[in-house]
């Protein structure tokens, strides 16, 4: 709205200009006849036109300077070049009128070696185009050379002493103010840079509507670089309203008491597609004191602690998992102890069998730890259980096969029970007995199936057990119950043949 107004007031709109201008009015001529020096620049600071007063002041010709960059056309010295440029930039970039109280211009006279110094006071005005963008800059110059003490000596004879003394005091003040302004501007820029680059979140909300006046990089980062400056916070971050934060801020405004929150979860629509994301913050809503006892705004400061919170959660998850595994292992040990005891026999037998079963579990754990609990090879697990027996008595036949941890844990105990049984009653108990373990894999419905045969021969004649002992019960529970496989125990007179098939799909830890 304001853009439109400025633009219309400027009268550069064709329609408006036409309706205003009677045929006799020629703005170009008026510009030329204006008694004070005026110069029109584009946004690259190239000269578009200077009026006659400006040409007189600078001793230039229109043709020589039109289309030429201001800094090439006219001569300024040292720091004045930068000050002039900064002022023009401010006008161009912020669209606001800028004043330059004192600027030294070197006018080339007849003697080109020693140019005369002139002192100007400049007003730089932005001129906007139809879209509201700054398209031109108008420089209006007030020549104050006669008032400047440095110039005083040079032109002393031309001016009376009385008014000059008075004026130079005014001029001196103007210079002082300009110097102070420069310092303030530098300090302001420095502070702004510090705030913008500060690692913590910072944001200034002003007025009863809590308009976001300033937000630093960390803050913008946290909210996903949305365009929020100048917006009331309820519009800038609508998602925080229903999370109670608008209420918190209103309370701070009403009471003038700061709010301090730690580890606060905020769901922010910070992703480019506006998808919500949980972030955690330590936050302070600090009231900014206004006139009297009222609160004029809120300074928001905070730290994004999301990474720390997520790490803590991750650690808690790992602790839970560790706790779970330890408890499970203890329960398994309890089960082995109780079930071994149930099988009967003298205490020495109990100790021996219990220890052997514990060792079998321990070896499986070792194999898994070596593979960082990413599973283990089938042949390795078999060797772990069969190594107490002469290697001439048993052989393994099958492809290399890596098994997931859960399968390894189950099969470790299964092979232990089979091996112990073979050594006690089966083929490993007789001099001529032999054991072959053979396996293969097949793909079925996208899953790898393991088929394994434990084949004993040449041992003592065996008969099917009359009741299910610890070993056969464990094998069945593990293969059929736990791993959802198929199992066939064939008690042949020549020895036990145990066959099973299990799927390796979906068997995770």
């Amino acid at each position: 709205m304001s853009t439109e107004n400025i633009y219309r007031a400027g009268g550069t709109d064709a329609g408006t200009a036409a309706s205003l201008s009677a045929p006799s009015v020629d703005f170009h001529t008026i510009f030329d006849y204006l008694p004070t020096p005026h110069l029109l620049l584009d946004t690259a600071f190239d000269i578009i036109a200077a009026n006659q007063a400006y040409l007189d002041l600078t001793a230039q010709r229109q043709a020589d300077i039109s289309g030429v960059n201001l800094f090439a056309a006219l001569s300024f010295e040292g720091e004045d070049v930068k000050r002039l440029e900064d002022s023009l930039r401010r006008v161009r970039d912020h669209g606001q009128v800028d004043l330059l109280p004192l600027l030294c211009y070197r006018r080339r006279g007849q003697d080109k070696a020693s140019p005369e110094r002139y002192y100007w006071s400049c007003t730089h005005t932005p001129i906007r185009d139809a879209s509201g963008r700054v398209a031109f800059i108008l420089q209006q110059v007030q020549d104050v050379t006669g008032l400047h003490p440095a110039k005083n000596a040079a032109i002393g004879s031309k001016a009376g002493p009385e008014p000059l003394a008075l004026s130079s005091a005014v001029l001196h003040r103007a210079e002082t103010v300009q110097a102070v302004n420069r310092t303030l501007l530098a300090e302001y820029s420095h502070l702004r840079r510090l705030i913008m680059q500060a690692p913590g979140l910072m944001c200034v909300l002003s007025g009863p509507d809590l308009v976001i006046e300033l937000a630093n990089n960390a803050y913008l980062d946290a909210i996903g670089h949305r365009d929020v400056i100048g917006l009331p916070i309820r519009e800038a971050l609508p998602e925080i309203v229903r999370q109670g934060h608008l209420q918190l801020l209103d309370t701070v405004m009403a009471t003038g008491q700061p709010f301090v929150g730690q580890g606060m979860r905020l769901t922010l629509n910070r992703k480019p597609n506006g998808e919500p994301e949980d972030r955690y913050f330590d936050l302070v809503y600090q009231p900014i004191a206004g006139i009297g006892s009222s609160t004029s705004g809120i300074f928001v400061a905070g730290v994004d602690i999301t990474d720390r919170i997520l790490a803590q959660n991750q650690q808690r998850l790992l602790m839970d998992e560790l706790n779970h595994r330890v408890k499970n292992t203890l329960a398994t040990v309890q089960a082995i102890a109780v079930q071994t005891l149930r099988s009967g026999g003298p205490p020495e037998q109990f100790v021996k069998t219990f220890k052997a079963r514990l060792m079998a579990m321990s070896r499986t754990h070792n194999a898994l730890t070596r593979g960082q609990w990413q599973g283990a090879d089938l042949a390795d697990i078999l060797r772990e259980e069969l190594h107490p027996y002469s290697s001439s008595r048993w052989q393994l036949r099958g492809p290399d096969l890596h098994l997931p941890s859960r399968v390894v844990l189950a099969l470790g105990l299964v092979f232990h029970e089979l091996a112990v049984n073979a050594a006690k009653y089966g083929s490993l108990s007789a001099a001529e007995g032999a054991l072959t373990v053979e396996w293969n894999t097949q793909e079925k419905d996208g899953a790898t199936m393991l088929e394994l045969e434990w084949h004993e021969s040449g041992g003592a004649p065996i008969e099917p057990p009359t009741r299910k002992g610890f070993g056969s019960q464990l094998i069945e529970r593990s293969i059929v119950g736990e791993l959802n496989g198929q199992l066939a125990m064939d008690y042949r007179p020549t020895g036990l043949v145990c066959r099973f098939t299990i799927s390796l799909r979906g068997q995770t830890t």
Binding site: A331, A335, E482
Partner: protein
């Protein structure tokens, strides 16, 4: 499998859902010692769900492990609750590892003491089934057993 109440007094039919074969054997032994009979055991979730759906009237009480080979068993807990079957968790997870809505539910833990097991099962089994089913109407189940 379902003729558990042979002694007619304390014998309960206890459903066991637990993925560790050794632990199922341990629990079976304990049930036998306590004069209860075992339904199952089921080591995976799916057959357990099927069994509960088809035979829930025969279950006096259930013991439910929370983690079945990496799969949480809360679906079974929901089903048991819906059907009004008393149950307790047997989980190595402490509260933090259990879904918030189930944290208040009885958990006998992973090491089993026969006396404790006996008491908690008998208390659970004595619970009125309709009141268990009703408790699911509330926002979160409280310790119904």
């Amino acid at each position: 499998m379902t003729d558990g109440q042979t002694d007619g007094k304390t014998g309960l039919r206890v459903l066991i859902v637990e993925d560790e074969p050794l632990v199922t054997m341990l629990l079976e032994g304990m049930m036998e010692d306590l004069g209860h009979s075992v339904l199952g055991p089921f080591l995976r979730l799916e057959p357990a769900l099927e069994f509960i759906q088809a035979n829930h009237r025969e279950i006096d009480v259930a013991i439910l492990d929370v983690n079945l080979g990496g799969i949480r068993s809360f679906a079974a807990a929901d089903l048991l609750l819906e059907l009004g079957v008393p149950f307790v968790f047997a989980s190595g997870y402490d509260e933090a590892g259990i879904d918030e809505r189930w944290r208040m539910w009885p958990n006998i833990g992973k090491l089993f003491y026969e006396d404790e097991l006996k008491a908690i099962l008998e208390k659970a089994a004595a619970e009125d089934r309709r009141s268990i089913a009703r408790s699911r109407q509330g926002s979160a189940p409280t310790a119904a057993v």
